[in-house]
Homo-oligomer: 440 residues x 2
Amino acid sequence: MTEERDETVSPDPAGNGGSGPRLSRRRLLTTIGAGGAAIGLGGGGYALGHELRGDSSPQQSSTAAVEPFYGAHQAGIITPQQNRIQFAAFDVTTTSAQDLVDLLRVWTRSAARMCNGDPAVPDGGGQLAPPPDTGEAVGLSAARLTITFGFGPSLFGTPGAGDRFKIATKRPPELADIPPLPGDQLDPARSGGDIGVQACADDPQVAFHAIRNLARIGRGKVVLRWTQLGFGRTSSTSNSQETPRNLQGFKDGTNNIKAEDQDLLAEHVWVPNDGPKDYEWIRGGTYMVVRRIRMLIEVWDRATLEDQEATIGRQRASGAPLGGKDEFDVLDFTARRADGQPVIPADSHVRLAAPDINGGAMLLRRGYSFTETLDRLGQLDAGLFFVCFQRDPRRQFVAIQRNLGQHDALNEYIRHTGSALFAVPGGIQPGRYVGEPLFG
Amino acid sequence: MTEERDETVSPDPAGNGGSGPRLSRRRLLTTIGAGGAAIGLGGGGYALGHELRGDSSPQQSSTAAVEPFYGAHQAGIITPQQNRIQFAAFDVTTTSAQDLVDLLRVWTRSAARMCNGDPAVPDGGGQLAPPPDTGEAVGLSAARLTITFGFGPSLFGTPGAGDRFKIATKRPPELADIPPLPGDQLDPARSGGDIGVQACADDPQVAFHAIRNLARIGRGKVVLRWTQLGFGRTSSTSNSQETPRNLQGFKDGTNNIKAEDQDLLAEHVWVPNDGPKDYEWIRGGTYMVVRRIRMLIEVWDRATLEDQEATIGRQRASGAPLGGKDEFDVLDFTARRADGQPVIPADSHVRLAAPDINGGAMLLRRGYSFTETLDRLGQLDAGLFFVCFQRDPRRQFVAIQRNLGQHDALNEYIRHTGSALFAVPGGIQPGRYVGEPLFG
């Protein structure tokens, strides 16, 4: 999953390649060379410009990377975490199950194209039609774009009146609504959604383009409910990645599950290949919890280094646990100071979030920093856009967050202002569409 | 101004280097090597981690770059345009001119440090004080950070009662408030400000860190009025840069003034070294106009390619003028189609914005794309964060925008939702602070 695919084009089983040769944005770039002239592909409204990010030319080889869209699991989960995210939650407005299936089919095809560096929709239309693709990613490469789809509890509803698409009986118990949690200050306008789409890329314009074009394709069937840009990653999903810092200035995600931890992934992330037939469609999938966590950074910035480190349970500079020396030192919860108090305080974040304290529960995290303008009090609305994957949110995110929400010293400095949950179907094969086993 | 400085440390004339050797974040990285262990620098609360962006390793050499902070002009104007921006407008809350001067002195010193890849404030404080720097840029390099300061009309006020800082007589006529312009839909919460600070960098976390730390340093003297993150550049300020696309999918800024155009810079951007003594402080400086331009992208996306191209006056694919072949072809406003109509329509954006139509007026632009969440109607709040520099906004931005606001076909697809104007003093020399000639 982590290999870069070079010069390959994703399968196009639906035969929607349009007229003429299909050139990916990136392949064309290779053909014409950096700095080459833009080439118009005729009257189809498509033409592919030269590399636009030549200014930070070292980015080119990075942004040229293509992550495979098809596979055993959806991309964007254990893919080495990209630097940027554009997340979107959609509500389904059509009441026709066929409409929804048609949309998922087109979305799948379009997502595969974009992840390959191609336009969202093939050429065609000409001068007298709106351009098939919105164009802002023309000349950019795939930038390791991944698009991950999930279905929210509200899509399933409940058997009987609320069962819009006749799938209520296929709603797994793991997809229970997230209950109110201690300290929640959720904004409904930043929570929930029938369908969640995570677009991650190393170039934010590529991630934005993906969400915008999916929204456009979905017009008349879905509406955007909320969306969030994340500007910097705050976790690592591969051992090949360094641990980044979040907006509290601390290394975040040191103990995250990584792509290389096959046993942990099987135990904590992937839905296994057994269980009732009704829930067969989620096998090989996972559950995605999304939380918009506002950091009260003005308050945090006034705390002493000692307080900050006691709150997190780690040293700010090195990321090492309190009492340890290296970032990856094992957390020693038994160590005591001379005064008898634990070296890693009882209410510290790392202790309360640790698997030992939570019945062994772990999460695979993909976090991002965000910032928007000021709130009504003139405080910066910035923080952590927390995305995590797990096979049972009830025993994992919800259990851990209930514990944290009650006791965590960090609560003084954060507010959960958005929340959503999605069931993420397993990997997609060429010719299939996301969620096909659920609807098919 | 456009050369990257390597391994140099900016002067520290104020002697605020703290105890021990001063190591820039980046120099330390070089010392310990990529992937080396984090090094704690003792009890000062500072330690410098390893390179955090190792995942997109091609970024490293780009983000390692340092742009000079000191010079004949402020950095961030003709500096080759960085990929990201965090802009902030502050209001001054102190009524003491001395407080303000003290702040500008500390801000200048801090900005110079950050642009060099150093923490905003030197080491010190220890465990029992809040960390001097907020820490989220530890381990990151300077990422070509530039910090550009400007003073808004409201800082000067008017002679008499409104003259808080006794500088009203030094307000140049060019710093006239921007008058209401046709089509304005300005939000006061995204407009104005006593002091404007433009932080640009190739890493958004570095730009965010700069604004956050300046805000923190300014507590009790200034408050943040508004701030804006821009995720992708939409213009080029050097001939070495490719032309990027904006969120309308068109190449933007093709005809921008570039750093290499010394004559155009002298004519249109830099305030000359003459004029009344009261305005001596702005010599070598310029004026910065900032407009938050919402794009109605859902409407735009429904327009035909023909309409889009007629609206802009350029071909979407290549960026060439209508009737031309290459992006940089000269705009031929006299060319007519067979039906007698101009090839580049009379109400097209490029025609109405052209110097020929505006008494020769030109701007140096530094634009960025932005996106936030949805508006109350469920439409995406995204568009162009337009920043431009000029020596007389009355004859340049205001004149051009009055013309555009009345006639531009593009008005159907955009709304100006924020506006601000700042006088940008000339370059800063080591040991001096920004605006010193105004207050000193």
